[in-house]
């Protein structure tokens, strides 16, 4: 099956500066023929390249806001991090529902509610499972990082659905109970990041998503902000109650709120990668649960948000004060759903390791030998001018047949130097016909 990505390159904007190749956590970008190219099987849609591209040539493919109007009953599925984007002075719980209804939505479903369900399901799974440590499955970029680069750790990922997916399914059930026709319901996730766009188009641990479309935070924000507190017609409804514990999921260190055991909270792909590297060596065996968010700050730092993550953090903490401090989860309802396996992924996550040099060990070894030889000849500066992120990956790209040694400007320069020397030497060798004339002119 072809892998679908949300992160795309706008070729007209790309200046081939190679900055993105160096920041990519899975070394999934190469620059060749003057444009950055994404190696689809390695991309985890984390958005790191979107963040670092000085030309803003990397974009996330989200649905246009107009897609909402195709459904008579559109639902805005809003991430907890959205609450960090609204300045405290404008924040009003009912006013937000009004704003969404003015934009064209009939209902608002808070993913923070799903987060409370998922947090509880995590706690129960931690007690039930013997696998340690268990890694949160809430950040799709981290899950894909594990599948691609730390495939040996795939079984450590919580086999539990994301808060987004849980909320979407709960919303669909609730609206159908209200008598809304299933085909009229359109559920749109308002996303802070490209990884969640991919998680809808290509779900993790299931074959279909309950989410019908994904809108970018920044696109929605432009329409929503001027209409906050301005009721639409018909007036919208809020499907789920909100509490602080769920909304805190927008920031790191909120998952498995008030639970027992040793927990670790990570944010930013540098931290996440370092800890995953430790785990794959068998370190940290006594940690029970690891919360890992690809973005610095957590989801509020997603690259489709509009506020700086520091401002966002301040906003979120101030806006939280309007919400009840206790979780709003109905525990009986939760337990019924848990016992029905409602929260479980439909199938096990599959590792997606990058391709070995050759499926045959002997042939792969031959290529590795060549790769080592090539690496010895490269300057080791990791300058990236060749379009590969570092010398080691250039050596690998060469043996994979994607490029040649002359893509290294140092090797090219050396070759030119040798060629020039050879030319000079040849130029000194005067042909006999000219040579015969030479003595006569000198006389």
């Amino acid at each position: 099956m072809q892998y679908i990505h949300s992160v795309h390159l706008d070729e007209d904007q790309c200046q081939a500066c190679t900055i993105c190749t160096k920041r990519c956590p899975t070394e999934a970008i190469r620059v060749y023929q003057g444009k950055a190219r994404i190696l689809e099987e390695r991309c985890i849609d984390c958005g790191e390249c979107m963040r670092t591209c000085p030309q803003e040539a990397k974009t996330s493919q989200t649905d246009p806001l107009e897609a909402v109007f195709a459904y008579p009953y559109a639902v805005a599925l809003i991430a907890p991090s959205l609450y960090s984007q609204i300045p405290p002075a404008q924040f009003n719980i009912e006013g937000l529902v009004d704003g969404f209804s003015a934009v064209g939505f009939r209902a608002v479903a808070d993913v923070s509610h799903g987060a409370e369900h998922v947090g509880e399901a995590y706690k129960q799974w931690i007690s039930a499972s013997e696998t340690r440590p268990l890694i949160s499955s809430a950040c799709p970029a981290v899950v894909r990082l594990i599948q691609v680069k730390f495939d040996e750790l795939t079984e450590h990922v919580m086999p539990i659905e994301s808060p987004m997916e849980v909320t979407a399914e709960l919303a669909r059930r609730q609206l159908q109970d209200q008598g809304v026709k299933p085909e009229d319901i359109g559920i749109f996730f308002v996303s802070p990041c490209p990884a969640k766009v991919t998680a809808v188009k290509q779900p993790l641990g299931r074959s279909y998503s309950h989410v019908d479309g994904v809108l970018s935070f920044s696109d929605v924000y432009q329409e929503l902000y001027p209409r906050l507190n301005e009721a639409g017609n018909p007036k919208g409804q809020r499907l789920f109650p909100m509490g602080r514990p769920g909304v805190r999921w927008g920031i790191t260190a909120a998952q498995t709120y008030e639970s027992e055991g040793i927990r670790m909270s990570l944010e930013g792909l540098d931290q996440v990668t370092a800890v995953l590297e430790d785990l794959s060596l068998g370190k940290l065996p006594d940690v029970d649960f690891i919360e890992a968010n690809a973005c610095p700050g957590g989801c509020i730092g997603g690259c489709l948000t509009v506020q700086s993550r520091f401002q966002a953090q301040v906003n979120l903490y101030r806006n939280l004060k309007h919400l009840p401090a206790k979780p709003q989860l109905d525990m009986d309802h939760f337990q019924r759903l848990y016992d029905q396996q409602f929260y479980m992924m439909h199938h096990a996550l599959q590792p997606r390791p990058s391709q070995p040099l050759d499926p045959d060990i002997s042939r792969a070894m031959q290529l590795m030998k060549r790769q080592e030889q090539i690496l010895q000849t490269l300057p080791g500066l990791d300058c990236g001018a060749c379009g590969s992120p570092n010398c080691q990956s250039l050596a690998e790209d060469i043996v994979r047949g994607w490029t040649t040694e002359n893509d290294c400007i140092f090797i090219l320069r050396e070759s030119v130097q040798n060629l020039a020397k050879e030319l000079w030497d040849l130029a000194q060798q005067v042909p006999p016909t000219i040579g015969r004339q030479k003595p006569s002119t000198e006389e």
Binding site: D151, E277, L281, P353, L357, I361, A364, Q371
Partner: protein, 147 residues
């Protein structure tokens, strides 16, 4: 022609902050070589524990990896005090690690037994006050268990 690919990684004694660097590279190389992942997992444990032993106990040495289509060999060659009592060293929980290492959470006495559990064949040659050569093999084919 014998088809063996060899790599070596220098390991410094007491360089606790670098513990795992060599083992992580071993993992990367084995993935490139399309070694099936259960073997990689075992090889990485062996490499990491052997690397750690050199860091904790020795004045440094070399971690070697040899890949062949039949087996993976991990060898740790160090200059150091050697292992005084090999039989006791193999016991789980028995440790001679210095306080410095234990304070950092290393030296729990599980290293050698962990290596033995994950290797199909283990050989340790040690000379007091000279050093230790640890050689561990993981067989890639079931038939190879006849050592």
């Amino acid at each position: 022609m014998e088809n063996i690919l060899e790599f070596s990684f220098p390991v410094e004694g007491r360089s606790f902050n670098k513990a795992g660097d060599a083992a992580a590279r071993v993992k990367q190389l084995l993935k490139q070589a399309s070694i099936p992942s259960p073997f990689i997992r075992r090889a990485v444990v062996v490499a990491y524990e052997a690397e750690l032993n050199m860091i904790i106990h020795s004045q440094g040495g070399t971690l070697r990896l040899a890949i062949s289509p039949e087996q993976l060999t991990i060898q740790a060659v160090d200059q150091g005090p050697g292992i005084e009592n090999l039989q006791r060293a193999m016991q789980e929980g028995y440790s001679t690690a210095p306080r410095e290492a234990r304070e950092l959470g290393f030296g729990g006495g599980m290293g050698l037994s962990n290596i033995q559990r994950n290797a199909d064949h283990l050989d340790i040659q040690s000379q007091q006050n000279e050093g230790t050569v640890l050689t561990a093999a993981i067989y890639l084919e079931k038939a190879a268990s006849v050592s």
